[in-house]
Symmetry: C2
Subunit: 311 residues, 2 copies
């Protein structure tokens, strides 16, 4: 398949096309992933989430610039409906105007939030796999930290940064919404604004009180729009990953994430092939008739339908 080869060669145009295929749940997208699976797994996947307006896009751009400068190949997948390059398939691979993207070697893509949230998580992970196979070494998954489904998406990452700002009660909101539960690292952005110390203190108290007892969560101060604290944030991510790889926790998390993903894919396949596949309505109709003619039980027929659809 020519498209697979072009993705492997790293063509942005081909990757964009390929992501559209997995986004639509098209069989061609699945074929593509089938062909590329042996090339997937080397990239580092970094989740970045936080409330709207906290500066996620800027932070991602700045981190990408730091990584690019030392030769990393960066990609950004945004599932944030408030993101400036949102708009999904329509806007396609529209490039966000920024330091990093301006250089033209950061791949940026927003995922459409249409359909149910499980579908979005699935498509996002597929897109990340395609980017991984294409040779991108750092892949950011940017999601807005509002609503469980968006937060869920970040679980696909090897390391999740939660970005907060001292303004408008972000800290309290983050604690309430479960946002902090997915955090591996917290960055307090707009740290020059009043209230940053207070937010940090509140977070540390919350962590000490057992909100997140499993391990220590680094808390950093950043001013993304001035690039301040960004190299430190990148270094913290890498230290986190290094430690997790040494302890085996990195691989364990990938495995648990994959188990979750396999579940979502299986449910998707049943939905898609069973009720949406070619000849599916006719097969279901015939099966119903078989039951009503008393030739088979409903459970027997449903089982046969699944087998047939997945053949």
């Amino acid at each position: 398949m020519a498209l697979a080869d072009e993705v492997l060669r790293g063509s942005f145009h081909a990757i964009g096309k390929a992501i559209s295929l997995v986004e639509n749940g098209a069989p061609e997208g699945r074929d593509l992933l089938e062909r590329l699976h042996a090339r997937v797994g080397d990239s580092l996947r970094i989740g970045l989430t936080g409330p709207p307006g906290v500066g996620k896009s800027t932070a991602v751009d700045e981190m990408a610039a730091v990584l690019r400068a030392r030769g990393e190949k960066v990609a950004v997948v945004a599932v944030d409906p408030t993101s400036p390059f949102s708009g999904g398939a329509l806007l396609g691979d529209r490039i966000r105007m920024s330091k990093a993207a301006g250089a033209g070697d950061v791949f940026m893509r927003s995922m459409a939030t249409r359909g149910e949230s499980g579908g979005l998580a699935r498509a996002t992970q597929d897109a990340v796999d395609l980017l991984d196979a294409s040779g991108r070494t750092f892949i950011f998954i940017e999601t807005v930290g509002v609503g469980q489904s968006e937060i869920e998406v970040s679980r696909a990452a090897d390391c999740v940064i939660v970005l907060l700002s001292p303004e408008s009660g972000d800290g309290v909101q983050a604690m309430k919404s479960g946002l902090l539960e997915v955090a591996d690292i917290v960055a307090i952005n707009k740290a020059d604004r009043g209230g940053a110390d207070r937010l940090e203190h509140d977070l540390r108290t919350a962590f000490e009180l057992g909100l997140r007892p499993r391990r220590e969560i680094p808390i950093l101060a950043t001013q993304a729009n001035a690039g301040i604290g960004i190299p430190e944030l990148v270094a913290t991510v890498e230290a986190f990953v290094f430690a997790r790889k040494a302890s085996g926790a990195f691989q364990e998390r990938r495995r648990l994430g994959m188990e979750d993903r396999l579940r979502k894919i299986a449910e998707f396949l049943v939905q898609k092939d069973l009720w949406g596949g070619e000849g599916a309505p006719e097969r279901v109709k015939e099966a119903a008739e078989r039951v009503l003619r008393r030739e088979n039980s409903p459970y027997g027929c449903a089982r046969a339908l699944i087998r047939e659809a997945l053949r």
Copy 2:
């Protein structure tokens, strides 16, 4: 299987046990349905739904008494959380004190509303199949007409009676909630109370205005607690069924209902066998490891998992 034979012989105790099995989604319940499927299909399934307090239980009891008197074998399955014999598996086959049930030859059972609504619809249809195989000739499915999921359940019936009362704006509520959309027959219960004529007029106007344009909906007046209008209601149900059988619409509805049911069962099977079956967690874990070792793609593995689980 001894239980299957006892169900076929019509033992209330065996039927109660069998329903508990399908209610729990136990494999034994599915095996039972597998054994009995050739004996399913002769009973008439009558849905009865309406707002809480409208007199559904009384109406069902009175209809059951009319049918019993001429030798029909009646069963009632109630999915109404406000029903006086509700309480699900705990109360089991508790008999509602009434004219019909007092005679001891009406089978009554409430279905637990635990779990998701799709599961309830599935279990209810399974229970009705068991009752059908056991030789019951008239099976009432009593559901409270509040919330889409409860209304959905009534779609499994060959004929749906919507019970309203002149009180408390039942008519307006019924139009708003989509309750009338499932109605084959409307009965205005407590017809001696003020406002019955007004309700009937409103309903006829609504029907004429195209709320339900496909066919004429009979509207009857009943006073279930005095047995008034109940023989006429039974006769209307039978006339409806007779006409539908003659036109082929009866069979068509059963087929469409079965298609719907097969879909629900297939989704249930995937959920149940794939993630809840014996050895399932280990299989998912191994599959995830295969993907991470790059031996297979996520889609390939998910597909294999489904096949394996349904073998």
